[in-house]
């Protein structure tokens, strides 16, 4: 039998961390399934909630922003479709982000009792939001059929934007997950960030409205938000050429997400061995 040898020393990162992570993929799967099957336990409507939430949010936004505020959609695109596209990707990002941020503290009973690569917790926490995302996407397809809207070849790029949104949620979520272990302030901060993001990102409106404003003092801040490029891109892939798309802002998003992701993982790896002392 092959002997499995481990050396434990202070400050020593596991040499085979990523291999360990791969070996623990079954645990990853089981923790994901746990979250999914627990999600709608003891609810009368069950998984229907995954449908009800995006649908009602969309209806309210259509009512408030389209009927009352009379915000224009991108030309040639029905407003509800544009909003639902935005809600779908934003909800995916924001729930993943929230769940990643709280994943370590929610699993504190495991952290103090068993060893496994700690990255399993944030990774497994996204299963629930991904399922919700698929439901919401299904709703979008139904709505698109209703409006007899036919997507074009851009749809092929959709997976790339889904992955980008996911990486974005890791890039920011992992950092907060680590900080949350020591400072529970994060639990208060995150709903606030999500709420602000909902308005700061092009969900109820199109980035075209911002682009048309030209150069105001605040527009650079708008474009610096990495989620703007991702949401615009996602909508562009779903709705085709008529939707607003800005390659420059997308590239900026990719760079920001890439750098933040690298730093976040580094930070997480650096701190994960001390989680149990702080939790």
């Amino acid at each position: 039998m092959k002997t499995h040898e481990v050396l434990i020393e202070p400050g020593r990162s596991e040499r085979h961390y990523w291999r360990d992570l791969w070996r623990n993929r079954e645990l990853l799967y089981i923790l994901s399934m746990r979250d999914v099957s627990v999600r709608y336990k003891q609810t009368a409507l069950g998984a229907a909630w995954g449908l009800i939430r995006p649908l009602t949010t969309m209806l309210i936004m259509v009512f408030v922003f389209s009927k009352i505020a009379k915000l224009p959609p991108d030309p040639g695109i029905p407003y509800p479709l544009m909003v639902l596209g935005g809600i779908t990707v934003w909800t995916f990002f924001s729930t993943s982000f929230t769940q990643i941020s709280t994943s370590v503290t929610l699993n504190s009973n495991l952290v103090t009792k068993v060893y496994f690569p700690r990255l399993i917790m944030p990774i497994s926490s996204i299963a629930v939001s991904f399922l919700d995302f698929l439901v919401s996407l299904g709703l979008f397809i139904i709505l698109a059929i209703w409006y007899q809207f036919v997507p074009d070849w851009h749809l092929l790029l959709l997976p790339a934007f889904i992955i980008l949104a996911l990486l974005g949620s890791f890039a920011f979520g992992l950092f907060f997950a680590v900080v949350n272990v020591k400072f529970r302030d994060i639990g208060q901060l995150i709903p606030f960030i999500v709420q602000v993001g909902f308005y700061a990102c092009p969900i109820a409106y199109s980035s075209r409205l911002v682009a048309d404003k030209g150069d105001e003092w605040w527009t650079p801040f708008y474009w610096a938000n990495p989620m703007v490029g991702i949401i615009d891109g996602f909508r562009w892939a779903l709705l085709g050429e008529k939707a607003y798309f800005n390659l420059q802002s997308l590239l900026l998003s990719v760079v920001i997400v890439g750098v933040c992701l690298f730093l976040s993982i580094y930070f997480f790896r650096k701190r994960e061995n001390t989680f149990v002392d702080d939790i």
């Binding site: 040898e5 050396l7 020393e9 202070p10 089981i30 399934m33 746990r34 009973n109």
Partner: protein
Amino acid sequence: MSVITVENISKQYIIDHQKGKGSNTLRDVLAENWRQFFGGKKDGNTPTREEFWALRDVSFSIEQGDRVGIVGHNGAGKSTLLKILSKIIEPTSGSVRIRGRVASLLEVGTGFHPELTGRENIFLNGSLLGMSRGEIREQFDAIVAFAGVEKFLDTPVKRYSSGMYVRLGFAISAHLNPEILIVDEVLAVGDAEFQKKSLGKMRDNAANGRTILFVSHNLTAVQALCNKTLYFEKGQLIEQGETNQVIASYLSKVSKTRLLRQWDTPEEAPGNDLVRVKRIELIPDYQDDLTHIDVRTPMKFRFEFWNMMDRANLNLSMHLNSMTGECIFNVGTRSQPYGKGLIAGECTIPGFFLNDGSYTISIMIVKDTVTPLYVMEEGITFDVEDYREGIAWYGKWPGYVRPQFPFEMGMLEPASLE
């Protein structure tokens, strides 16, 4: 071949003693950094910090197939050591080298989710403990049978009784197949019969050449399972070696035993103007070269006190109390008239009477059978250790006392063979 080599392991914790606020919030840290940024030095109100060594310079090695017991008081560093070996916490300094697959059992039913069914939780807990899904599936029926929860497999564990919950948790871990098994105090839970079954299962594991590290407060279980024992105190390894030897020295060190108290002159003796206690003593009648009191040991309680009254009807009653303060029994002398002088008496507590545990003896001197003159609380403190013979069960023996009354059983009417 040594499978675990521990070299100079230490674990330090910094304890913040903060004034007013209990927790460390982001605001405190930001405010502190802000002050340092502008003021250049920390202000005087910073929390006082205290270093605490949960483990200090611990070294030992464990050979393959050893069953090692770890004993010590609460806070001696036993659990910290197990957590370091399980890679859950990182040592502050030192190193550990482990050869072989480790499974740690620090809790029964780790990760059990109350909403999930027994079946789902078996897979969840099993994979947390390092089993693959294939292994779990292979062992599934054995686990369920061991726990005896066949009927409730598809019931959420929140509806389980606490006994079922514990049984299921232990059953999963009992079917782990690691080369090194680390177990922390899990036998403390569950009913007596299940404890016996669990210990039996662990012994089977040990028989298969598995290395076991076992922390327990139950010294009988340690003695039954382990061939070697480590004794920790205040984060340091005090003694290691053969189980019986280490446990004997552990017992001699930890007991707060105080068998004798005496005062030479009435001036310094406790009491009042009427009576003063000169001496109280518990004398164990050790048999078979024993050096500690166990359930077999007969004892004599002796007392002497000064009576300063010319003539009084006196008696003395002795209360034997458990550590939690309940009176196990109360016996008294006959009330008799005494003049001034030193009065002495003796009471015998037979062997095979007290259950294992810690006890105190209080005395009360009474006048005219109704008026207490003086009460001395907890004059004597002693421990009674467990001892069993020919019994394969190691749970806590129930009851306040543990007498051996004549008790016979026999076949009344053999069934006729057909």
